[in-house]
Assembly symmetry: D3
Homo-oligomer: 251 residues x 6
Amino acid sequence: MARVGGRADDELRPIEISRGYNKYAEGSVFIRVGDTHVICTATIEDKVPPFLKGTGQGWVTAEYGMLPRSTQERNQREAARGRQSGRTMEIQRLIGRALRGVVNLDRIGERTITVDCDVIQADGGTRTAAITGGFVAMVDALNYCRLLDSPGETPVVRDWLAATSVGIVEGHKWLDLSYEEDSIAQVDMNVVMTGRREVIEIQGTAEGHPFTQAEMMELFALAEKGILDLIKIQKELLGEVGQYIGRGSVK
Amino acid sequence: MARVGGRADDELRPIEISRGYNKYAEGSVFIRVGDTHVICTATIEDKVPPFLKGTGQGWVTAEYGMLPRSTQERNQREAARGRQSGRTMEIQRLIGRALRGVVNLDRIGERTITVDCDVIQADGGTRTAAITGGFVAMVDALNYCRLLDSPGETPVVRDWLAATSVGIVEGHKWLDLSYEEDSIAQVDMNVVMTGRREVIEIQGTAEGHPFTQAEMMELFALAEKGILDLIKIQKELLGEVGQYIGRGSVK
Amino acid sequence: MARVGGRADDELRPIEISRGYNKYAEGSVFIRVGDTHVICTATIEDKVPPFLKGTGQGWVTAEYGMLPRSTQERNQREAARGRQSGRTMEIQRLIGRALRGVVNLDRIGERTITVDCDVIQADGGTRTAAITGGFVAMVDALNYCRLLDSPGETPVVRDWLAATSVGIVEGHKWLDLSYEEDSIAQVDMNVVMTGRREVIEIQGTAEGHPFTQAEMMELFALAEKGILDLIKIQKELLGEVGQYIGRGSVK
Amino acid sequence: MARVGGRADDELRPIEISRGYNKYAEGSVFIRVGDTHVICTATIEDKVPPFLKGTGQGWVTAEYGMLPRSTQERNQREAARGRQSGRTMEIQRLIGRALRGVVNLDRIGERTITVDCDVIQADGGTRTAAITGGFVAMVDALNYCRLLDSPGETPVVRDWLAATSVGIVEGHKWLDLSYEEDSIAQVDMNVVMTGRREVIEIQGTAEGHPFTQAEMMELFALAEKGILDLIKIQKELLGEVGQYIGRGSVK
Amino acid sequence: MARVGGRADDELRPIEISRGYNKYAEGSVFIRVGDTHVICTATIEDKVPPFLKGTGQGWVTAEYGMLPRSTQERNQREAARGRQSGRTMEIQRLIGRALRGVVNLDRIGERTITVDCDVIQADGGTRTAAITGGFVAMVDALNYCRLLDSPGETPVVRDWLAATSVGIVEGHKWLDLSYEEDSIAQVDMNVVMTGRREVIEIQGTAEGHPFTQAEMMELFALAEKGILDLIKIQKELLGEVGQYIGRGSVK
Amino acid sequence: MARVGGRADDELRPIEISRGYNKYAEGSVFIRVGDTHVICTATIEDKVPPFLKGTGQGWVTAEYGMLPRSTQERNQREAARGRQSGRTMEIQRLIGRALRGVVNLDRIGERTITVDCDVIQADGGTRTAAITGGFVAMVDALNYCRLLDSPGETPVVRDWLAATSVGIVEGHKWLDLSYEEDSIAQVDMNVVMTGRREVIEIQGTAEGHPFTQAEMMELFALAEKGILDLIKIQKELLGEVGQYIGRGSVK
């Protein structure tokens, strides 16, 4: 079984990231990973959740949504249904944890960065595209608010960050699954990794086919390769701004 | 007081409408009216609301939403808040009525056309942009499903349809208000009109300054001018497909 | 086609407005427009919405509801259903805007006037009856709280206010539609107007039959006639209190 | 301590019950018990809850609501708040149980009687007024639908039904408490009773002052007296229709 | 008709109350009344509802829930359904009132005691088991927080408190109904009573069979017997702690 | 830094699993992992979600909840708050996926197994305890309904299943974290594994400290050890019933 368009097993789909997509947000990108299109906006506000008031520490959070017709069949609008689905909640919690994982919250003061990730068109890998694009939007927002270039010793953003999915489809181990591939995958794994190749989050799920440790390691290596490719794209895109991003030093 | 960029009183902002913006929807456009950007997708499904079951008649409805950071300040996500605001409900009801107003529901069979209008960036006039763009998405969807070109005597889509806003700002009567203009307008009016210059909906509201009948008529004339300009753009855009659109014959 | 009971095309249904209907509210009326019966209570509280705190300015808002059996078929209770319908939201926003349109919010201090309009029996025109009756309840409440008779130059209530519906039924243009008439109307228009014959709000909707500018103007004239009749009734009813109502001078 | 207006300890407030208050409902009354005003409408529909489908048996249920300004301070509208309070739920369950208690559900077929009780003005005893008035509305609805006068052996409505409150206020045992009395009562008891002086429901609550069995019995006797007075009023009111009401024979 | 297991008409099911069931709560018990199993935890927090702020007075409240499979058929989880049922609300209001009825709120300062009653297995009488067990958990929590043994003249807990149900089943008057018995009972009564045999709450409901005053008194006597048995068990269980519980003196 | 009670790095807390804890559920256990206590009930019903109707295939799903005072501070009851938190949704989706991963859905017919996991006391690892205990409850339920011992070639339950957590705390890699340990962990990983040592789900999250691939593998080995210990306990507990559980053969 070959991949659509002759894509190699370890090949990402074409990536396009447009910065400054929204004229109001402190940072924003439109990220396209193949036919998966996500708008990410980063908003910085001078407020924190109650549990952080008075600590001098900030917060990073994310929200996720899909337009009703971002999918093959139209989905009910969550605002009309009156609540977010479990899937939505799970994904936005993951994005928030991932971004928080590379930000030094002590350095941004009592501010909240909210990264909204809205899926315009979904073709697999929306959550990982949201993390990869959301990272750029967040960095741009921090830069815009002059929170990046302070002379402190520890960097505000500790490391680069990107995410991708890998999976096993009819025995093949593939990088960056499209929806069609994902829907028949026996194993599905999402990996969030930093520029220093450290893991922020790994989630692997067997869909009817439990996997061995050896398979897990192979998938992991594939994800690592893809993430390093994504971070290369982020570095080119951010240019000068990238100099303020740390190299993984932990507080 | 002059308009931003030297715009004339009766001049629309630059309009761009891209068709086929979404690969799944039967019809879709991305409409830009100045800095107001709206994605409209039209979905056709083989089902109708309960009150139409067994009547052989179809339905047209609309839903409206704003991305949280489509506005200057971030708004709470309606899906997270657990309900749609009164403003959202009012707008989506208006869009639905407007589109329904030019469709011959008897001719589409027991099908529902749902036009989703999602505001990516808001700079005034989102509801009228949604109607103008949503009309094109709906026509494209009907065409795609081969519901337009049937040889029946009465056309499925009875007439062209567009909408715009007009208002009085510091005594000036202006067409197609931007957010900045709208927020200081004394009178605000939205008009939905057909190609034959018949009204589908008119909503005029005094914001602190009640208006006379004479003022109402002047505003109406301004709106009419703008709508005819918009319909001209729609006609160029739809090209051949436009031949299936009626000239206003009422059932 | 003739109207029920031989009513003339430009004739209102019998109106009855009883003041002081509720012993707790600062102002209250029971308004009967034919078989449409609405209780309007006006409550004045020493608080304002967050966006007005510290501005010295007040607010006027309205809420609308229907008893479950105010209609021919019983409707589900909105409190039991867990949310207000889009129709309810749209109507209460209209009533609030209309009343706000004649009140000088700077003159009432940081107070909120809430006008509750509850439909006991619905036979068409509930929203316009609510505005016509709600105006009287609001004036009575302002008078009760001694907010009307202050010696300031600009009146607190700038002008008289009433509303009615007009429509086209089988080609006839009729004033003050009953439910039966409304349900077969091709065009339906609600007009909210002041004593000086200025418009606060106009909403005209084509129900399957787009209307021309000429038809719109005829309907408007019919509404104007009805509203002036209603304001005459309000003036008789309010008697002395009416002297504090302005003649439309704009701030 | 004497009661307002010199009312005797065992004296009801003035009662007025107007039948046929609503032109749509199968049965309806406006009941006034002093300054407590409640509209009760009874709707009969040809449907039953799922657990009764196919059993040939009907159902009686009630819903209760208060207009926002039925009370001294304005209360938030439950429809706007998005849910009914615990108090509302508790009261409507009580009214439903009480009415169900005198109806032979086997005799009405697979129909549901919904009695809506909406409080226009509240001055204590709204739930008991709702039961007393709701009974009349229900009987009228059954009569209107020709469900009362069938020649079966067991009556559809087994007995008369009314309710009142009693309480201990500063040591005095009083019948039919007003809001002012109720708010300082040490003990508060609601009794629902039939024409044969049998109890359908008794609810007695100590408000800070537990009561003895002897006090309970005294209160009960007071309630019984009041309820028999209320049933007398119901009998006069219903006239001929009353002949179809049973004398308490149990199925 | 005899009771299951030859239980006497006035015999309680076997009672087991385990204190200190939960390692976090200030007070907690696991109460078993036959096959009805309820976990009661009492939490004491330094906060009060808004209406008590600044009064120096505390509050006692209760919440009630059933595990989805505490019943014969699985019930939908209320958290998933998005709201508590009317039954749940009614029960938790009853438990709260009952516990509040024996606590001197002036003596506990601005603190709230929340008694959570979660039904693990339901076999009739869950609300009365919750009151009987919740009382012990509350006393333990007050003792743990050193709020019981203060040297004030009026006791914090004014009296012992327990509850049970009684009913008429096929003419028999029975104490402490199991679910099977309850489901066929013609009359169902819950009584909450203190150690001095004073009533805090009585709720009697006819299920198809109205009851006479004589029957009511017989049921009441049966309940009184059962409650005194329950209080005896509470006294043995609480041992030394019981000395701080008052003998019913009213504030 | 040493573990509480001198526990070894690779040592589970004491485990107790009581079967048949609930008299109504088809299968039920009370599982204690140290001070984490969870009730798991498995309900089998003859219905499936809409997307499976007519496929002959069954479904396995899970729901998760925490009693309000299962935690150190009392949490708001989700039923009262009106919705489940993102954390709850995420956990119940994980439990459902895990259990589904070892069930041959084709073999159980159009039935749904719902495993309710209610946390009575939480001290870390509630989701993994729920999976370990829920598996036993599910097997017992299948056995009770005679769905396990059918003579088909492919087993209904394909393999044993258990889960545990591992983490890095101040540089130490520890198995089965308690709440205290978890709250200061730099890395937290949950692993769900079968008897054949295949992975059903792995979720590793960096809490401020990204982890290397080498650390990930060490943690994984630790989890594997713990899970095999847990499965040993399950095998002893289930005894004869265990013979019907497959050895991992994939459909």
